[in-house]
């Protein structure tokens, strides 16, 4: 990827990320987040990890953010004027962000050797075959455990969402 393209995309990602914080309306914040996620996916693709990039687009931008949109709608969140906030909250918040910025700077000044060593990557780096191979051989147990965990989460969500017992009211399927 040429440097100017990287800088352009990185700037877009940062603008989107800033928008998440600065926008007043939740839907606008969410759209900024979608923009950031899509741009990061494009960065992945440009850096040779096309599979990861497209998966990011499918899972985060295409599915999880849509669910966020649903939650915003169903809770009927409106844009709210910023709360004045407690002094203590502001103090803790600035401490936290200062720590994060310090970490980032440290990372830039003293990068870990794994990044600076210009290691040659394998030919099939980032390809779907390589990804599948590591998922289904090296990390098989972790992968399966995660999927079981997610399945449990889904079942739990369905069980919680089911408010009425059999014979209770409510349209079947829940017409929105």
């Amino acid at each position: 990827m040429p440097l100017w393209l990287f800088i352009f995309l990185a700037a877009l990602a940062i603008i989107g990320a800033a928008g998440v914080v600065l926008q007043r309306h939740p839907v606008h914040s969410l759209l900024s987040l979608v923009m950031t996620l899509v741009v990061i996916a494009v960065l992945f693709i440009g850096l040779g990890a096309a599979t990861v990039g497209f998966l990011q687009m499918i899972v985060y931008a295409g599915a999880i953010m849509v669910l966020f949109l649903f939650v915003i709608w169903l809770l009927n969140l409106q844009s709210q004027p910023l709360e004045p906030g407690h002094l203590a909250l502001k103090f803790l918040g600035s401490l936290g962000s200062a720590a994060l910025i310090a970490e980032l700077l440290l990372f830039v000044v003293h990068p870990p050797p794994a990044i600076t060593q210009n290691r040659a990557v394998a030919m099939d780096f980032g390809s779907i075959g390589r990804l599948a191979q590591s998922l289904f051989t090296d990390y098989l147990i972790a992968f399966e455990a995660t999927s079981v965990l997610l399945l449990v989460g889904v079942i739990g969500g369905v069980a919680l969402a089911r408010r009425t017992t059999a014979g209770g009211g409510g349209a079947p399927g829940g017409t929105p």
Binding site: V27, L31, F54, I58, G62, V66, L69, I128, A171, G173
Partner: protein, 369 residues
């Protein structure tokens, strides 16, 4: 380098124009075809100073659909309701349009065209993870309709947007599973390679098309695709009798024209995907890169250019046939109820898709295919 860029741009423009023109023609066919199905005269107004009639030709209504309609829409007032989110209201039609159009970039419309010493792959973008790309762009298509409904500050529109979102993310699963089973069958995510795999014949007469290997996946993809394009019988998001026009209730003028165009471009997209995955894409039976190998040993040599042209025409005709099928279905079936829609998606198509993937995996592992 420059030549590569120019060739890429030409291919992209050809694909784009083909899709947009086909969408516009479908708009005409929707009217004339529905008139034929319902035994009406149908679109027959606005002849150009009566030229056709004077020559004794039947007026097919091309003019009012392809010229009068766009002119009317684009010169109308572009109305934005009070309290609407003006920016998102303007952005939404384009958010809906963009993912549909860029999806066509990976659909191959022919094999290789050789000009001089340069061989051109007849596909706008040759991506080796094209199947993932399709799922990603289709996933992004949700935002246009949902935000269009929300930004209009209208309850009908919002309900339409919510319905559209729920419907699209529900049917995306079945669509993804159908595509996964095709990826397993061909062992690649590259659509051009998938089309090449579908060349040749079985038993001397049956084309090696995906439909004969994965008939269930074909039904899943077609059904889920029609649900994704929000057409009857899946047109709950814009059900006129309940929601006026659903998510584009508050749209007029050019933006509404864009939403209409998206609808038809999605029909073309579903047709193109079904053709590519299940009907051999650009494969014409018995046509090989060097000419026709007919059963019985007859052989007609054809130059590369002729083969490419036959392939492009074949692909176009297959796509048009599936567009026709979808319009026919749209004018034949009644609309689902919302709970029927959700039940079909989650309890019908999703388990069938999972089963199909499992059976395909078993056949690959134990059948040694």
């Amino acid at each position: 380098m420059l030549a590569e860029l120019i060739i890429g741009a030409i291919k992209a423009i050809i694909v784009l124009l083909m899709v947009l023109n086909l969408s516009a023609i479908l708009l005409w066919f929707e009217r004339k075809g529905s008139a034929l199905i319902q035994d009406r005269v149908g679109a027959n107004r606005a002849a150009i100073v009566g030229v056709g009639r004077r020559l004794g030709l039947p007026n097919l209504g091309f003019v009012n659909t392809l010229m009068a309609d766009p002119l009317k829409l684009f010169t109308k007032e572009d109305f934005v309701p009070a309290g609407a989110d003006r920016f998102l209201h303007a952005l939404a039609p384009f958010l809906a349009m963009f993912p549909v159009l860029i999806t066509f970039a990976v659909v191959p419309f022919g094999d290789t065209l050789i000009i001089g010493d340069r061989s051109i792959n007849l596909q706008a973008a040759n991506l080796n993870v094209a199947a993932l790309y399709i799922l990603a762009t289709i996933g992004l298509g949700v935002y246009g309709v949902s935000l269009g409904g929300w930004a209009s500050n209208n309850r009908w529109a919002l309900l339409g947007g919510i319905r559209a979102t729920a419907q699209m993310i529900s049917y995306e699963l079945a669509m993804g599973l159908a595509i996964v089973s095709m990826v397993m069958t061909y062992g690649t995510l590259d659509l051009q390679l998938m089309c090449r795999e579908q060349g040749g014949v079985w038993f001397g007469f049956l084309p090696r098309w995906g439909i004969f290997v994965q008939p269930l996946a074909f039904l899943l993809l077609l059904t889920a695709g029609m649900a994704e394009s929000k057409r009857v019988p899946f047109d709950l998001p814009e059900g006129e009798s309940e929601l006026i026009a659903g998510y584009f209730t508050e749209y007029s003028g050019g933006k509404q024209a864009v939403f209409m165009l998206v609808d038809f471009a999605e029909i073309v997209l579903v047709s193109a995907l079904v053709t590519t995955f299940f009907f051999g894409g650009w494969q014409f039976p018995w046509l090989y890169p060097d000419g026709f190998h007919l059963p019985g040993g007859a052989f007609f040599h054809l130059p590369n250019l002729a083969v490419a042209i036959i392939q492009i025409i074949t692909f176009t005709l297959k796509v048009v046939a599936f567009c026709w099928l979808q319009i026919l279905l749209r004018w034949t079936l009644p609309r689902f109820r919302y709970d029927q829609l959700m039940r079909l998606g989650w309890k019908g198509l999703l388990p069938l898709g999972l089963l199909n993937v499992a059976v395909t995996a078993c056949v690959i592992v134990f059948g040694g295919v």
